[in-house]
Symmetry: C2
Subunit: 323 residues, 2 copies
């Protein structure tokens, strides 16, 4: 697929951390950690620590066409890698949208990836790890009961767009997550928007809510919101507050087979009704309705990811966000 690619020409690329706060840990005993080669090392857990920052990497194409940058936010248990090379080794939405002329900022939320994470005194609860097979059924790779530890006997849905041989590469992208850090994640995202300025958000799964809350917190800066299989948690009053912000929500295939996703979509349809009543616009596109079968919860990684990027691109064009 990569044989006739045009070069990517960037006027700049780089990274930064944003957000974070100082915390003081005190009164904890010094601990001794046993080292693999024998012996121990003393570790003092007390002191002042910088916590709850987030990581952002940006790619700015020569000949920018997008009027605002695209900020790409990942879902729960994931990092910005979501938007990079697909698990089967093709270009992800980062490259595809840079090629379309958009400044793209891909980030790792607080506690994920290069953002780092904090001690139990700061993050309540405990980190949660994702078993190998859990996403297969939860995220609509195949029918209930189709997961198997043996890759050869895993049966995806018919016309599945996720290459099953690349499933383990998706799992390698998953990092531990907490269930208690939403407020810290949100605070850093808002600092990111304040730093970057007017922007459009591309959000996925858990970030649906973060994107919607960010738009509510910075309604003058968020110019469009693209939600890939995520929840807009709002009501008539938020619909009114955001009536000037165009919102696109995408769903893959087999949503009806998942109570979680069909309930989520139903709630979004209700939000779309409230947006319409308030004079706003939330468009929900079910990919099967536009002829694309077999997408899971991860359409940015799947065989037809470029076609889905084109749907988003057309929508952004229709909203006047590209020159």
């Amino acid at each position: 697929m990569a044989d006739v690619k045009e070069p990517i020409v960037l006027r700049d690329m780089g990274s930064f951390h944003v957000g974070g706060r100082l915390v003081e840990i005190k009164g904890k005993p010094v601990r001794e950690i046993a080292l693999p080669g024998g012996g121990t090392q003393k570790v003092d857990p007390n002191g002042t620590f910088l916590v709850e920052q987030m990581y952002v990497q940006y790619f700015l194409p020569q000949g920018r066409k997008g009027k605002v940058p695209l900020l790409m936010w990942h879902g729960g248990g994931l990092t910005g890698v979501t938007y990079e090379t697909t698990p089967d080794g093709r270009e992800g939405w980062l490259n595809l949208f840079v090629r379309k002329g958009w400044d793209v900022y891909v980030s790792d939320a607080v506690e994920r990836g290069r953002a780092g994470w904090a001690m139990p005194e700061v993050f309540a609860g405990e980190p949660v790890f994702t078993p190998l097979g859990a996403p297969w059924e939860a995220y609509r790779f195949g029918e209930r009961g189709s997961w198997s530890a043996d890759p050869a006997t895993r049966t995806p849905f018919p016309a599945g767009q996720f290459p099953p041989e690349a499933y383990d590469n998706l799992i390698k992208q998953i990092v531990p997550r907490w269930l208690t850090t939403n407020d810290a994640i949100m605070a850093a995202y808002i600092e990111l928007i304040d730093k970057v300025g007017p922007c459009a958000l591309v959000v996925h799964s858990q970030s649906g809510t973060f994107g919607y809350r960010a738009a509510l917190a910075r309604p003058d800066k968020v110019k469009a919101l693209i939600v890939v299989e995520g929840t807009l948690r709002g009501d008539a009053s938020t619909a009114a507050a955001l009536r000037h912000i165009p919102i696109l929500v995408l769903y893959g295939d087999n949503v009806d087979k998942s109570p979680m996703f069909s309930n989520q979509r139903k709630a979004n349809e209700q939000m779309a009704g409230m947006a319409k009543a308030a004079g706003g616009s939330i468009e929900i596109v079910n990919l099967p309705d536009v002829g694309m079968r077999g997408n899971t919860h991860f359409p940015m990684m799947e065989r037809n990811n470029a076609e889905i990027a084109d749907i988003i691109q057309s929508w952004l064009v229709s909203k006047g966000l590209i020159d």
Copy 2:
């Protein structure tokens, strides 16, 4: 500084994970985690998990000149961000070496950043967090006693190359680390070399040892080793085994003021003697000896990082590694 930059032209950029293994966790009780909004969520820690993979991001310039890719490996408690934009917002070695025509692979080692990390059943010991002030004295930002919680009263060494106002941005790059994971880190690095093929390694701090061990494990593939303030843990027999691999070791300023770093350098000088006796070459360059004062343990991030990149570039040219 960025006002007259030439565009960066890439024939490709992307990322992947490499390495990893399956582990089975069983017999652990299901736990309940209290959620911030009230209520609890059950978490079952049992199952099959993919652990100990690592993350790699690559940038391949149009018009490649380097004969082999540069693999840039970070130090302890850090990630590949080490080589990206400097804490004060200038181009880091990633950009600078891509501009010089090198394919560059920047990675996050096992348990760091986008590599993810594993449960206590897999990683022995516990994660260690770095207090705000610890690197200031340990890594030669200023005299002992010069650290202060108040940024205005922190006094760096004279002619210090690290911009003190950017110190907190360095701290934000630090992630938790374990003291027990060296073998897992090493295994994934070797898988990376096997995937990429012949290469040169740029390693920092903790990765000094990883780079040297990687050369010993793959002496046919590692064509050069550049060690920024790291230890080569070897002996006469390793010196003989690696006599065909050119090694450059760089040190910043004020090494004499740190027992840790002066002992480390002394050990490297002994290794250089053994390399010479075996017909090999380990060159140790103290930056103050070539007119560069004031570098800390993080020269790739400092004001003169481009000049230091030029020293490495000249050395790579002298070894015939660039067209």
